[in-house]
């Protein structure tokens, strides 16, 4: 009884809870236990890279630099020329897939160049994800784009140029369960 009274007093004084809408439409009373984050903490956590380039780190790299890194870090699973091995093929014609050639390599299928950087930086190589520097990741991304004939060998990839790369299959997707914005 005294505990209940104590809780009631605390609630009356500081109201450390909120009323949120529950999925069934009713209201639920919930505590508010989230610790506010500082801007620096958000920066340390945030790893999202958007197609418009937001979130890309400083740094740069070219296909030539990337070719060496690819041979060292990627070829064992993806094949010496990106033809695929134990892992999927990455390099193919820079034309959207067709019924006769249902190709899903980077040049044929991937709609955004930023996706390559994001996926390598967070997931590759699988035995040591996060081990590549931003420069190395830009370089491997440049190598893959050049090998797919999407950019030229000399194009420098960085946080400004990468989001501007026009992928051949950019408009190859139909949104199904979400309405695509104009």
């Amino acid at each position: 009884m005294s505990t209940l009274r104590h809780i009631a007093v605390v609630i009356a004084l500081v109201a450390p809870f909120g009323v949120a809408r529950a999925a069934d439409g009713g209201n639920v009373v919930a505590p508010r236990l989230g610790k506010p984050m500082t801007a620096a903490e958000v920066t340390a956590w945030n790893r999202t890279i958007f197609p418009d380039g937001r979130g890309l780190p400083p740094g740069h790299g070219t296909a030539e630099e990337g070719r060496i890194l690819y041979a060292e870090k990627c070829a064992r699973c993806h094949g010496a020329h990106g033809e695929g091995a134990t892992a999927e093929d990455l390099i193919g014609a820079p034309t959207p897939p067709t019924r006769e050639d249902p190709n899903k390599t980077i040049g044929a299928y991937w709609p955004f160049a930023t996706t390559i950087f994001d996926f390598i930086s967070r997931s590759m190589p699988p035995a040591a994800p996060g081990s590549l520097s931003a420069d190395e990741t830009y370089a491997i991304t440049a190598y893959l784009l050049a090998a797919n004939n999407v950019i030229s060998q000399d194009d420098d990839m960085n946080d400004k140029t990468l989001p501007k790369v026009e992928m051949p299959n950019r408009n190859g997707f139909i949104w199904i369960d979400v309405k695509k914005p104009k």
Binding site: P96, T98, P111, G172, I176, P181
Partner: protein, 431 residues
Amino acid sequence: MAGKLTDADLKPVAGGGLLDRRLLLKGGIVLASAQAAASSLSAADTKAASPIEPSDPPWLHATGGPFTGYGTPSKFEKYVVRNIGGNRTPAGDGVSWTPLEDLEGIVTPSGLHFERHHDGVPDIDPALHRLVIHGLVRKPLEFKIDDLLRYPMQSRFLFIECGGNSNAGWHSEPIQRPVGAFHGLVSCSEWTGVPLSILLDEAGVDSAASWVIAEGADAGLLNVSLPLSKLTDDAMLGLYQNGERLRPENGYPLRLIVPGWEGITNVKWLRRLHVADQPAMTRNETAKYTELLPSGKARMFTFVMDAKSLITSPSPGQKMYGANVYEIRGLAWSGRGKIAKVEVSADGGKTWAEAHLQDPVLAQCFTRFRAPWAWDGKPAVLKSRATDETGYVQPERDVLVKERGREGYFHYNAIVCWAVDEDGEITHVYA
């Protein structure tokens, strides 16, 4: 009404000997079931020197085994395990299938829930795990697991199905495997956790927000984008599965639960929710989990798992033992809501009989169906067809393939077809 069965009761209601589903309610019918060819360990496997009489087995005469802190299945059920596939290089990229043919009811035991990992199962210390919510919110917030455990919770029985489940169905030849090793990237659990709307409300979502990018704490930092509206509608932060805290392979200590949506959206080991005004166009929503159509265009953001059903007994790998009355057993589910009806056919789809749906029938949850079948011992072709409460009807395979082609890989939900031959052997066929 329980009572004496008449000849009229045993009159088929559809071709091939399908009987009225209401017979199951009469309680007077004795049904055989198909048996697994590789069944449980039997007495023959553990034969003692002197024969044991079932009327007086030795365990009646000695104190049984000790108490255990956490129970495990009988050693005689040791073959009921997940079927692990796809582990090549790297070791953490692959799947394990739920053995649907060995299970009954609607709940998948937690240790048999299917797995799809992209870079292994992380060994997470919950004291060091955080969930952060940031982006287009008034107040970015960080939560400890102990904090989340103090929030109001809800429980729901929900299936989770991998978007790539049943993809062998796209093959030109029917694959011959037990039903779980073909369709077992789907499982059903009671999930308990905190409605995500509560935490989003606490962070204060900006009116410009429309997407949330969810990220897991596995080695691949798996990330996917989800529309905010679904997350505020019915998503939850899953902390418990079937009454106990999540298993590591199912996201311990925290996973996203997105009812009815493809498995990858139910992000395991959830660590970050980035509220945004657009999707991040991650690898797993562009290069993967999209479905290439014959036109060369691809379906994207195909989140909802459409209605599906399959017969778990009899099914390939099991055997039927002569003409008799059998119970056809199966599972149906829909990402759009409740299952409204399951029909079964024993003549390859020429005629159909409605199956009995066992209670409970819940939205976005496995529904167990049963149908009595008087098999005459002649070749038969079994099918099941689900209809959900939105009126969506599970399509025949030729209809689905005509619409989608065979290069889509994901979201295969066509009617599944088993052929029974005169010896009672069961094979997967396209018919």
